[in-house]
Amino acid sequence: MAHADLISPVTITDPQPLVIAGREFRSRLMVGTGKYASNAQMVEAIEASGAEVVTVAVRRVDLDRAKDEGILHHLDPEHFFLLANTAGCYSAGDAVRYARLSRAAGFNEWVKLEVIGDQETLLPDTQGLLEATETLVSEGFKVLAYTNEDLVTALKLEDAGAAAVMPLASPIGSGLGMLNPYAIRIIKQRLTVPVIVDAGVGTASDACIVMEQGVDGILMNTGIAAAKDPVRMAAAMKAAVEAGRNAYLAGRMPRREIAVPSSPTMGMLGS
């Protein structure tokens, strides 16, 4: 082909890979492993998402196990970075206990810290969250703190030594998308540590808009797992996160309230 060079796609790479606590990650999309119809579907969706960081929960082994055999039988810890969460914990003490158990599994000293304050909204108990962050940081944990979109709490979490702050786009599992872009932007602008938006992304456009705010990444679970076709949605989310990141880096055009023609106004035919 004579002009193959002209039609071959241009490779645009992210000039700054995601770095948290000194560790570089290959994707800005992090995914959860809950709510899938099967482990096979989960693995396929995670592969399609391109995510490196995958979250897992710590729970009792079912001693009468009919089928439950633990997620490590399906996810290769060599290939993925396992990020244990403290989901379901309603006090700082419980969250610290779960974090210590997850570290004892022996993979890493990272934790996605959740201290939930309300069962209906799953909104965080920010006081308990700060307390647990301080404790875990003092024990050498890398704490990624799930919080609401409140700037002051985000600043306090950073001061307490959080490795990343994870404000919600909207409540966990709600799929409502980003409700307060202003708050997310201001958190990103004011914090030095990475800001990873966690929770609330319902579809690819939500993910894209979140990334367009300039945040460092997104963590999602239900948005992929609860789609009719989770594997296809995972691929859509991957593309959306990359598109949103590129759009942010590219810098969008200014909004105008009147039209500006794209084609020349000169050279029109005579009437």
Partner: protein, 81 residues
Amino acid sequence: MTQGSVVTETIAGEVVIIVNGDERRLPAGSTVADLLASLKLDPRTVVVERNRTILRDRSSLAMLELATDDSFEIVHFVGGG
């Protein structure tokens, strides 16, 4: 057979422990490793907490004897966000 305190319900030669909220009985002298084996669990894929203390050193599990009234939590990673 070991000397020591005897709980009323305890049958001689057994230890009665709580594992993940349920009572279990094992032969006296059993270790934490024996407990995991009786539950068909691979020590490398679970984390064991005994009386709220995590047993970090997996190689020591075969040396830790169970005692009546011990409370164990045996956990692992499951799917979650």
